[in-house]
């Protein structure tokens, strides 16, 4: 697909394959952060912190790592 054809796509659509891959990663992490399968859980770690909070913290650290990797290449040559 040439550059002119890409311009016909909606403004929110990632233009390169690499950016589409990253979009997939970030959308997946966002979806995984909503752990609907565990919604009624009151399981606690060390008696005081819900296990679902620990899960959410881990997802956020994965997100931080992904942003770090993504930031190295984003708009470097433009």
């Amino acid at each position: 697909m040439n550059k002119d054809t890409w311009e016909l796509l909606p403004f929110w659509f990632p233009k390169s394959q690499n950016n589409r891959n990253w979009a997939f990663v970030f959308i997946l992490l966002t979806i995984l952060s909503i752990d609907w399968w565990n919604w009624g859980s009151g399981n606690r770690l060390g008696n005081w912190i819900p296990v679902w909070i620990i899960y959410l913290i881990v997802i956020q650290f994965v997100l931080a790592y992904s942003v770090w990797k993504f930031s190295k290449g984003w708009m470097k040559d433009e």
Binding site: I34, G40, S41, G46, L56, I57, A64, V67
Partner: protein, 510 residues
């Protein structure tokens, strides 16, 4: 030493240091660009600190704790992931905004939008929305300061006196130093507020009456197990709504948007982008912990055993549980209330200083950003503004805006959370336009105007519905927060109206 004197001494030391840093950090140059965007020379670490301190406000300190007191740990789900995603927004929007700012000399958000679309009308509309929706958010900062000092001093420092005092100090360092002072005080205030909050939370749990993390956890589980689960407090649709609202709305705050201009290079923005989701997951735990565990603190409400007694004392009677509870607005006080129960006065005063640092670091940035928008975009539309006078006009506007914030905070109608969620949706409407201007060559000013107007009409409808007690119908929200369909509609409006505009102009030319 009297209580008031203790609070006075600690508060004075903090305020004097803030003013001192503001004066020391101020720029020696005299141009308006230097005053409003610190000559675009802010390094990565200062940029990160100022972005974080600017964003974590009274809402972070008091609003989070209040909402977590009401809804338990589930409120972490409302705030954390969405705020971590702000790091991605910083990268995606910050880099092109920084590059365009440096290349074309933009100082304010509307300047960029108007400049890139060649439409003054779009710039005015964009600037008006920014100012209109930032004002209520600004008012929550003196509100927070007033609540905190009043509760801590047992009413000896009245709500409005506290709000007025801190506003005056903020005006002093802003008028003297502009953006550079604001950024430097943000670093000091940011480090102060987070370190104090962390120490306080640990101190709370090791207090002999609480008995440690495990014992406190068991006590909360025995008395209010619903505070550990999301079911019954929040649906997944609501948490999802806020998870996508924060990365969309936060970069639209004028005080955040303006900070993309001040970076010394794009590396500073890349660093801030990944640091943001690195610190948020841990920092956001602390106010949520205080709020959720505030439920095991005995505030004497159990004494009010009848509805009459409870309501007579200004609280809320829960008919289902047959118990007396704090009304919604009172629960915003939960952090200072816990403080007065468990910390000696001097320690409580130091924690309050941390919270006040959060209010001031946000409010000063909001005022400076709005002052620059009015100076650079608003006033030139009605009268001629000479470049050499811009700095002086900016200073006068800082005083006027601070007074407006105080007036709005005088008699607040809602809780801090209710006020900000309304303001956030109003600002989120600008996001599709901003992305389109930065990334889409086909962008048309009229389509952006259409998208913003449609979005703000919907926000107005939500406000009107809340005021008249009519709920937004389910067919519109489908269980999500109101902001989700609004954002979707503004994106579709922008996209479809661009297609229509292009086809109409193609037909006309052929």
């Amino acid at each position: 030493m009297s209580d008031l004197l203790t609070i006075g001494i600690i508060l004075s030391i903090y305020l004097i240091v803030s003013i001192g840093i503001g004066i020391y950090g101020r720029s020696k140059e005299s141009s308006a660009e230097d005053y409003f965007v610190a000559s675009r020379k802010i390094n990565p670490w200062v940029l990160f600190c100022t972005l974080a301190a600017t964003n974590f406000s009274a809402f972070f300190f008091l609003g989070f704790a209040g909402a977590s007191y009401r809804a338990g740990w589930g409120f972490y789900g409302i705030m954390a992931m969405g705020t971590s995603l702000v790091g991605l927004s910083i990268l995606l929007l910050g880099i092109p905004i920084h590059k365009l700012g440096k290349e074309k000399g933009y100082v304010t958000p509307p300047e960029l939008i108007a400049g890139e679309t060649n439409s003054k009308h779009l710039g005015w509309l964009y600037g008006t929305v920014l100012v209109v929706f930032t004002l209520p958010y600004l008012a929550t900062q003196p509100m927070g300061a007033g609540i905190l000092l009043e509760t801590l001093s047992g009413g000896e420092i009245p709500y409005f006196t506290g709000a007025l005092l801190l506003t005056c100090v903020m005006i002093i360092y802003l008028v003297l130093g502009g953006m550079k002072s604001s950024a430097m005080t943000d670093v000091f205030q940011g480090i102060l507020m987070f370190s104090i909050l962390i120490i306080f939370v640990i101190g709370f749990f090791i207090h002999e009456d609480i008995g440690g993390f495990s014992e406190a956890g068991q006590s909360l589980w025995d008395n209010k197990p619903d505070k550990f689960v999301r079911e019954g407090n929040f649906t997944w649709e609501i948490i999802f709504s806020f998870t996508i609202l924060w990365p969309i709305t936060v970069p639209m705050f004028p005080q955040l948007f303006s900070r993309f201009y001040i970076a010394e290079d794009d590396k500073a923005i890349r660093t801030a982008a990944w640091l943001y989701p690195t610190v948020v997951p841990i920092l956001f735990l602390f106010p949520v912990i205080i709020g959720a565990y505030g439920n095991i603190v005995d505030f004497g409400l159990a004494e009010y055993t009848s509805q009459e007694l409870c309501e007579e004392n200004g609280h809320l009677w829960n008919e289902e549980k047959k118990s007396c509870e704090f009304i919604k607005k009172e629960s915003d006080n939960i952090l200072p209330l816990v403080l007065t129960e468990y910390a000696p006065l001097w320690a409580g005063a130091i924690v309050c200083i941390g919270a006040i640092a959060a209010f001031m670091s946000t409010a000063d940035s909001q005022i400076l950003a709005m002052s620059s928008i009015i100076t650079k975009d608003g006033l030139p539309a009605v009268t001629e503004v000479k470049e050499e006078n811009e700095k002086q006009i900016g200073r006068i506007l800082i005083i006027i805006l601070a007074i407006i914030g105080l007036v709005l905070a005088y008699d607040p109608p809602d809780t801090i959370f209710d006020i900000v969620s309304q303001a956030f949706t109003g600002l989120a409407v600008l996001f599709p336009t901003t992305v389109a201007v930065l990334y889409w060559k086909r962008v048309k000013a009229n389509s952006c105007i259409m998208s913003i107007i449609v979005g703000e009409i919907l926000v107005g409808w939500s406000y009107w519905s809340a005021k008249t007690g009519n709920a937004i119908p389910d067919w519109f929200t489908q269980g999500f927060h109101f902001s989700t369909p609004v954002i979707l509609i503004t994106i579709l409006t922008l996209w479809i109206s661009t297609e229509i505009e292009e086809r109409l102009s193609n037909n006309a030319s052929s």
